[in-house]
Each structure stands twice: as C-alpha cells, then as structure tokens.
Chain length 210, copies 2
Amino acid sequence: MVSRVSPKVADPAVRTTLIETAARLLATEGALTLRRLADEVGTSTMAIYTHFGGMNELRREVRREGFARLAEHMNGVATSRDPVTHLSLLGWAYFTNAITNPNLYRAMFMEQPIDLEDAASGIETFQTLVTSIQRCIDAGRLSPADAVELATQIWAVTHGLVALHLTGFLELDQASESLAGASLNLLVGYGDDRRAAHRSIGRARGMIGR
Amino acid sequence: MVSRVSPKVADPAVRTTLIETAARLLATEGALTLRRLADEVGTSTMAIYTHFGGMNELRREVRREGFARLAEHMNGVATSRDPVTHLSLLGWAYFTNAITNPNLYRAMFMEQPIDLEDAASGIETFQTLVTSIQRCIDAGRLSPADAVELATQIWAVTHGLVALHLTGFLELDQASESLAGASLNLLVGYGDDRRAAHRSIGRARGMIGR
DNA sequence: ACCATGCCATAGCAGTGCTATAGGTTATCC
DNA sequence: GGATAACCTATAGCACTGCTATGGCATGGT
C-alpha cells in the first residue's frame, strides 16, 4: 500500500547538517558521540536514528563525505607536462590531505572493517592514481605493466607512512622524507630512470613549496 | 616513612593471567572490555586497576605482549645464505603474523596514538629488519644507503598492505601479491638486479610453501 | 475540517570505564 | 602468638556510551 498522504517529511538540510557537524566534531574533538552530536546540532538523539538508522550508518556517511573531499582535493592538482611529476603531486595531495585531517582520515581508512560497497566508494579516487600511472607508462617513462598493481603499491606505501605517523611510530618529517624516498625507489623499480624520477619528484615538491 | 611491614603483595601470576586472557579475548572476540575480562579471569574489575591502573595501561601491556610475540616470530626465521631471501622471509613473517592475529595487530599498530616509549618498544623488532638490509648492502646486493631509511620504506609498504586488507580495502590475495610486487620493485630501486631480486623473493616464497 | 503520516523530544534500557568505600588477607614486629 | 600496618579486591554507584519504546505534534492531502 502506497501512502497517499505526504505528511511531514524529513528535512534534507538536517541530514547534511548532521553529517557536516559530525565531520567537524570528529576533526575538532577527535571523537564522535551520539549525544554530543545531538546537542551540537540542537536536536535529540532520535534525529540520528530517523535519518540514518544508527551511529554506524552515520559514520558511513561521514566517511563518504571524507572520500568526497579527498577526491575533490586530488582532482584539484594541476596536470603537469611531466606525467611523473603529476603522479608525485597526487601522492603529496593524498599525504597532505591525511595529515591535515587526521581524524577524518582515521575514520576513513583505519577504523574497524568496513563493508564492501563502502570500500568501493573509497576506491573511487584510486582511479585517478591509476590513470596517472597509465599516463606515465604510455609516455614511456615506466615499463609496461598493470597500472592497477603499481597504483596499489604506491597507495600502500603512502597509506602505510601516513598510518605509522598517525599512530605515533614515525615523526612527520620521517614520514614525509620516506614518502619521497619510497616513491623514488618504486619509480626506479617501475622502470623510470633514477635521475629523471628524482627530478620529477623534486619538481613536484617545489610546486607545493616543500 | 618507609613501610616496615610487607603485607599482602600483588600476585604476579594474576597480572600475567590478565594480560594473556586479555590477548585471547581480543583475538577470539575482537573486543576487549573491562567487565568481560574481569568475568573471564574470575575476579572483579578492581584487579585491573590495582595491577595496571586502568584499561589504557592494560592495553599497553597487551601491545607489549604482541610486540614480544612478533619479535619472537621474526627472530625465528632461519638465516639464509642469500641475504635478500632472508629479508624477504622477514617481510613474509611480518605479514603472516599480522594476518594470523588481526585483532592483536590492530591493537598494536592501528589504534589511537600511542605514547613514545610504547612506540619504541614496538620498533625493537624493527632493528631486525635494519640488520637484514645492512647485510644485503654489505653483500653488494643493494647500493650503499641508509639501512634505516630503506627499512622504513619496506615497513611502510608492508604495514600499508596489511592495514588496507584489515580495513577491507584489499582482498588477502591482492595484498599478498602486492607485497611480492612492491618488494621486488623496491629492491630494484635499492640497486638489486631485477632477476636476482625475483629469484630471491621466489626462493623465500618457496620456503614458506606459498 | 479532518486525519493519516512520519519526525522528534522524553525517558529509560544495558552496556562501557572508572572510583569511593569497606572488608579481608598477610607479612612483619613486639 | 597476638597486634598491627599495609595492601588487595568485592561491592555499589558514578557519568558516559549507543539504542529504543512511547507519545505528542506538525504537516499536507483529502
């Protein structure tokens, strides 16, 4: 039976406000609790349940919000004439985004196992990385290979350095330096000339004032 | 005023029982709560406070226990004549240990920021990796470089793959394959001959029946 | 005007880590 | 051997967490 009267419908603005406030609380206070969020938005705890069903689903939406911001951030890097420079810039964008929003990054990539569809939405921006690598291969800078596999390796080392920093095992400088070093060594392993790779990475670092 | 009588002293056996039970609960149930632990051991919640001071300190001890097991596991790998094979075996040992005890690994390397001294105790086994890499350099397989820096890069990519698997972003097979691939490419970047590195890694994989 | 519909405030549930208090145990001293 | 001081721990209760049953109420179609 389809409802024939349309009573008070959920205000979609409340939904986005909840997500954005949740992301802000996560960023500023480092934690996200149901009651704290309800107080901040000025509603009751039930609002979260009518709009999302529970905290898990709300956290999922916060993650999606984080993924969207990350995609926006990475799509914002200018395409360089040197494809390896562009690839390096993508790496720095990912790294910088994580360092700037550590709590959001934790929620996105370091929390308890997430479901498959959620992981898929997170890998969306992964395609940007794959495309950039494919461009390096097509330009003859890297040896022919599966771009997805190479992208996975670069993603892993970048995420690993970020994660080890966020958990306190690596200082920021160490993580940053190792990102440059590991990128260089991986690129050489991918077939790039060491000097050329070094120049491309240096160019990228120069472009972001590092 | 120094106490001149020595009353009932804390039973050290209770302490180790608490740590081991906590590690077991973390492994079997995936979560560790104060009351659950107290029930399991058959004591009251106060025991945790007299022995550790709180859940944070208990969790720290569980981490130390995990670090000890990891060190034991990695020190147990046989030294091969081929230093790169040994290095590869270390990587697989780390990877296997993490996959076998995912919850303990999470507690050790993926939880909220840990304090410096705790991170130091975790890096203890890191020295094993550094030594193995230094041996590769000394044997002429890898170009002269800072072994600590190279070890950081290998650690980062291995941890990154493990972490991405544990959070659901990578299937186990993908993580496993990328570990081999990234190791190969990094080794080439470190100066090893591609064929030689491939052979050394393959030898390691053969030794662990993979 | 009616009223079905669905949002949301209230109050309460079981669970969490933590703590104040009181009782019990034990090694030492006289 | 008894008294004593020091220490451990069981009990009960605190504030907090996510969650839910309930009922009031605003809304928009009839």
